[in-house]
């Protein structure tokens, strides 16, 4: 930003009713590589800005029609980031002061020294760039803060959910044992012909399936990891992706939904835990199927990058309402009917992705579809290599926000 301004980046607009002044200033600008646009009235200038914003505007105070001050106010109102250099009549400081009050970058008195004016234009552009950079940084900080808050909230929710799961597990085991005991009793010879035996058995089944459901929930919450810590295996992600798609295809076909697997160029091999990755993909595919309707297509895309791979699952379903986007990774957040979803699928997916040192993101356009992207490192445990990836993911998030 403090380097000499590359003229072709600077979008400049000159507004002055003196055509002679405009054309000589334009020529000088072109000699420096700046292609200015020109207008001879305030209204004309505003119309040009409406079509394509400018970084810097040079504006004459005295014009027929809409005066300079009014034009300046309009510009600042509609394009607050546009810097305006105000040109006042000879020795008219009053106009200049009013211009600065209205938000002008600076003012120069006519007749102006062109070199001086050009320097001012560049200064204005630099300031504009600096402010933009500040905006970007502020947006980045705000995003990081949001992510941290989200992370903390999820961690707190997760801890609580796990505590609850632990507490529920013991009474569940008692119900399970008691129901099982009753079942054993019913198998006794002397119980063979008791009245309403079938009814008792039916009720037992309900208890058992309820226990099963509870068990599934506590399983998922407390992590049904077969071995401590993820085990690194060489995984061909193309094969793994195809395999999970095949596993989900029957269910999808029943609803008239097709799968498509797309692989971008690059090596799909990573070292990670295949079982965990399969679980992530199954969770995402199941959600996609549930969100889709007949005739829809679900695309699973593999995009290798130097230090890892990005896997995305994209559906053409109803999308996620904006207000829900922040909550979809929360434990127990679900929009499905009871029994159809525990509200743990995405929570678990996110937790597993983080265990594998990856990231998961969502982009959704309400009514048009949803895309989940999982980024996994080529080998976990190499923090240095992940910095590059993070940058990639920032770009992605910006894009995502635009999309919403």
């Amino acid at each position: 930003m403090n380097t000499p301004t590359p003229g072709h980046l600077l979008r400049l607009l000159l507004i002055d009713d003196e055509r002679a002044f405009l054309s000589s200033l334009s020529k000088l600008c072109k000699m420096r590589g700046i292609e200015p646009r020109t207008a001879t009235t305030g209204e004309g200038g505003l119309a040009i800005l409406e079509r394509a914003p400018a970084h810097v505007v040079v504006l004459d105070v005295k014009m027929p029609g809409m005066g300079g001050i009014e034009t300046l106010r309009q510009i600042k109102k509609k394009h607050p980031r546009t810097e305006v250099i105000f040109l006042t009549g000879h020795a008219n400081t009053l106009d200049g002061v009013e211009g600065i009050k209205a938000g002008a970058f600076d003012y120069l008195s006519k007749p102006v020294e062109f070199d001086h004016l050009l320097k001012k234009i560049e200064q204005a552009f630099e300031r504009r760039c600096m402010l933009e950079e500040q905006d970007r940084q502020a947006a980045f900080r705000a995003k990081m803060e949001r992510q941290m808050l989200q992370h903390e909230r999820l961690a707190a929710l997760g801890t609580m959910a796990m505590g609850v799961a632990h507490e529920i597990n013991n009474p569940t085991a008692i119900i399970h044992e008691a129901a099982d005991w009753v079942r054993l009793l019913l198998k006794r010879k002397e119980m063979a012909r008791i009245p309403l035996k079938a009814e008792l058995e039916r009720a037992l089944e309900k208890i058992e399936s309820g226990v099963e459901r509870t068990k599934r929930i506590t399983h998922q919450l407390l992590g049904e990891v077969k071995s401590p810590g993820p085990q690194a295996h060489e995984i061909n992600m193309s094969e793994l992706a195809q395999e999970t798609v095949d596993a989900a295809a029957t269910e999808a076909a029943k609803k008239g939904i097709r799968f498509r697997v797309v692989s971008d160029r690059g090596s799909p091999v990573i070292w990670s835990d295949p079982y965990q990755i399969r679980q992530i993909l199954i969770n995402l595919l199941t959600n996609a199927v549930q969100a889709s309707s007949a005739g829809d297509e679900i695309t699973l895309r593999l995009m290798p990058f130097p230090h890892g791979i990005r896997v995305s699952v994209k559906d053409q379903g109803q999308g996620i309402p904006r207000e829900n986007l922040d909550k979809i990774f929360d434990p127990f957040f679900s929009t499905k009917s009871p029994g159809n979803g525990t509200g743990l699928g995405l929570y678990v997916a996110r937790r597993v992705v983080e265990d594998l040192e990856g990231t998961i993101e969502v982009e959704s356009l309400y009514g048009r579809g949803t895309e989940f992207s999982v980024r996994l490192p080529r080998r976990p445990g190499r923090k240095g290599e992940r910095a590059g990836e993070d940058r990639v993911s920032d770009v992605q998030i910006e894009k995502g926000e635009e999309m919403r």
């Binding site: 799961a165 597990n169 399970h176 044992e177 099982d180 005991w181 054993l184 399983h219 992590g223």
Partner: protein, 156 residues
């Protein structure tokens, strides 16, 4: 199912949840096991002193002397008693630690009864085999000692 037991295996069931112990005991008794209940690690060790127990079913999470400490103590005092651990889902690490300390196996709570019965059978078998090996080794020892003294304990 598994009712071909000749003599009933003596099982010590240790869990601080009394209702759980009661229900599981009834089920095991129904399958012809002899069950002694204990509601803490301390009670478990006492019970082992007074009974000839083959297999201990041990809950990992208990107040007081916890499962792992209890297991360590069982293995120190009664190395050939087999232990099957019952763990919650989040405590697989503890289960692994327990296996390293000499537990026979572990089951996730709530466990399927058939699975528990299978594990009990296997544990009992391993204990019997171990006892058999000890008996043979002792016989060898006896033989060696009697040879040293110049006479056979019995005709061969």
């Amino acid at each position: 199912m598994t009712t071909m037991l000749k003599t009933s295996t003596h099982v010590l069931l240790v869990d601080d949840e009394k209702d759980f112990v009661e229900m599981l005991s009834l089920k095991l008794q129904e399958m012809a096991y002899k069950v002694t209940p204990a509601y803490s690690g301390e009670e478990c060790l006492q019970a082992l002193e007074q009974n000839n127990v083959a297999v201990v079913i041990l809950d990992i999470k208990m107040p007081g002397l916890d499962g792992i400490e209890t297991l360590r103590e069982i293995k120190r005092r009664y190395p050939i008693v087999e232990v099957i651990m019952l763990t919650g889902h989040g405590t697989i690490e503890t289960a692994v630690e327990g296996m390293k300390l000499g537990a026979f196996d572990y089951l996730l709570k709530p466990a399927e009864f058939d699975e528990l019965l299978t594990k009990l059978q296997e544990a009992k078998k391993r204990k019997e085999e171990q006892e058999e090996r000890i008996r043979k080794a002792e016989a060898q020892l006896l033989l060696k000692e009697s040879r040293k003294r110049g006479r056979m304990p019995f005709e061969m």
